[in-house]
């Protein structure tokens, strides 16, 4: 079920503002790709355009193509709802639905899509919570509200919710930036496990995290304020962090700027 992503000549705009220019990259299936770069360089914007979440913002639009196993998600007649069901997303701040219990949060994607079979929903709930390493902690209080969990648990709940709809790709937008080191470790372990079933793209400000969890790393940068961000280079993580081909990448990862 994991699929590959090929981005070709992607240009992203917010109204008249050209946010990101000419991004071309490939993400192989069952791998973790990390997006790193300074704030405002467009890495989150690129991530959000991979499942058409970008266009939720009024005035936002995209040029170029994003192919999921060869099929263009921006093709004519493609339903963005269908795209997002195939390419799930986890956000920076944990955002469980406040009116729903833990169980309802996990199965929200299926239930709101019309699945009513209670037994099936319970199975999905348990499988997803186990997949997110949260089952043991919450199995006795599935009917309690999701908002009562700790931040790290809430983020794993959001991951469980995202994998419950069995997407092909999982996008993560700085999933650990609001979490303490122990919860971060739990999520990183989880990412390594999820890699066996999903294609994962993760945006992170933490370069150690990129080095720990990812197979390939993409470095984004911008030339100046008001200029569009661009992809500087993408390569195997070990090469990016030991012997990058671009000077800017080396400066960034060695902390000489940004």
């Amino acid at each position: 079920m994991a699929k590959r992503i090929d981005v070709k000549d992607l240009n992203i705009y917010y109204g008249k503002f050209h946010a990101v220019e000419n991004v071309t990259l490939s993400v192989p299936p069952r791998s973790v790709t990390a997006f790193i770069g300074p704030s405002g360089c467009g890495k989150s914007t690129v991530l959000r355009s991979l499942n058409r979440m970008h266009e939720v913002i009024p005035g936002a639009r995209v040029d170029g193509s994003v192919l999921l196993d060869g099929a263009d998600i921006y093709g004519a007649g493609v339903d963005p709802v269908e795209v997002r069901r195939t390419i799930g997303m986890v956000f920076q701040r944990p955002n469980p639905f406040p009116t729903m219990s833990i169980r309802d949060n996990v199965v929200a994607g299926l239930r709101l899509a019309g699945t009513k079979n209670r037994q099936q929903l319970d199975e999905v709930c348990e499988r997803s919570l186990r997949g997110a390493n949260l089952w043991e902690e919450v199995k006795d209080r599935l009917n309690k509200p999701g908002g009562g969990l700790s931040g790290g648990q809430q983020q794993r709940l959001c991951i469980a919710r995202a994998i419950a709809v069995q997407p092909d790709v999982l996008l993560m937008d700085e999933p650990c930036s609001a979490l303490d080191p122990i919860s971060t470790l739990a999520i990183e372990d989880l990412i390594t496990e999820l890699k066996q079933d999903f294609t994962i793209v993760i945006v992170t400000h933490n370069m150690q995290q990129a080095a720990r969890v990812s197979d390939q790393t993409a470095f984004f940068n911008l030339h100046g304020v008001g200029q569009p961000g661009r992809l500087v280079e993408i390569d195997e993580t070990s090469r990016i962090f030991s012997n990058p081909s671009q000077r800017a990448t080396e400066d960034y990862i060695s902390g000489r700027f940004g």
Binding site: R84, R93, F97, T99, A108, L112, P145, G147
Partner: protein, 303 residues
């Protein structure tokens, strides 16, 4: 060694002192002010409630009050009841609410979820803001001139409902709009990212999150229109009989009953006026209790 000790010593010894007299005085003055304001605000409230309750109780304790009208009862007889007016108040309130609530909520949803930022939505929001401040007598005169003078319908409870609609819809729109705006965008995005369509996101995620606030806004609206007197005076004639038909003939409601009996110099008139006032307060209270229950059941939970 000695220089090290010198360095370790704080530059100045800490000098913690007691709270100065000036700060104590200011604190006392502020505490007294706040407490006084609270008392000043509460006294008239309790006074009103006590006056209405003590003077109205006598009527409410008669069983006839809840089951009979004032049809055929003379001005000086402590007989009959307010059934005709209670029915009128509840019927007119419900008819208005049943029409105003869906329209108001849908307009609010449009303004926040679909029209956000468009010129049309901005104009609508502005218009709704103005309409919220329209005095009820103006709404009543407008309905009179259109519904009765131009369209030629007769005065009826329904004409009164039309005026109440003009007052209630803007209130519901406003409260819905404000409640939807405070729902964090992250929840909408979380739902979209699960492949849930926009309309379902609104119905199943956004509205439930905002529901308790919306219900409160609706209840404030219902409470206000149930007490409106001016439209009833203009659009509906008082009737001492029970009239179940909101489209035909005159019908009472509790504010009209109060206006009518206020001019009755007999002791019975006094009892009926205060009885109607207490009944109106009780009905609005019951509606509010029901609404609190609904919003409590639907409120955002963390425990």
């Amino acid at each position: 060694m000695s220089t090290e000790l010198e360095l370790e010593r704080p530059a100045q010894p800490p000098s913690f002192q007691g709270i100065s007299t000036g700060r104590k005085a200011k604190n006392l003055a502020a505490t007294v002010m706040v407490s006084l304001c609270f008392v000043v605000a509460v006294i008239p409230l309790v006074w009103v409630l006590w006056t209405v309750a003590s003077r109205g109780m006598e009527s409410l304790l008669r069983a006839d009050w809840w089951s009979h009208s004032l049809s055929g009862v003379r001005a000086n007889e402590d007989l009959g009841g307010a059934y005709h007016a209670i029915y009128g108040t509840i019927a007119q309130g419900l008819v208005t609410a049943v029409i105003a609530v869906p329209i108001g909520i849908l307009v609010g949803i449009y303004l926040v979820e679909y029209g956000a930022g468009t010129r049309f939505a901005r104009v609508t929001t502005f218009t709704v803001d103005i309409l919220t401040g329209v005095p009820s007598i103006v709404a009543a005169l407008f309905v009179y001139s259109v519904w009765i003078s131009i369209f030629g319908f007769s005065r009826s409870a329904f004409a009164n409902c039309l005026a109440l609609l003009l007052l209630m819809i803007p209130m519901v729109v406003r409260s819905t709009e404000e409640m939807l705006r405070v729902v964090p965008n992250e929840l909408r995005e979380a739902s979209y990212a699960l492949g849930i369509p926009k309309w379902k996101t609104i119905v199943k995620v956004v509205i439930p999150t905002a529901l308790s606030g919306i219900v409160t806004g609706v209840m404030l609206g219902v409470a206000r229109i149930m007490g409106e007197t001016a439209p009833a005076l203009i659009l509906m004639a008082y009737s001492a009989r029970i009239n179940m038909d909101i489209f035909e003939g005159s019908m009472a409601n509790l504010p009209l009953l109060m206006v009518k009996e206020f001019t009755n110099p007999e002791a019975a008139g006094f009892n009926r006026t205060w009885g109607a006032a207490l009944t109106l307060i009780l009905i609005i209270m019951l509606f509010n209790l029901a609404a609190t229950l609904v919003s409590r059941l639907s409120a955002v939970k963390t425990k």
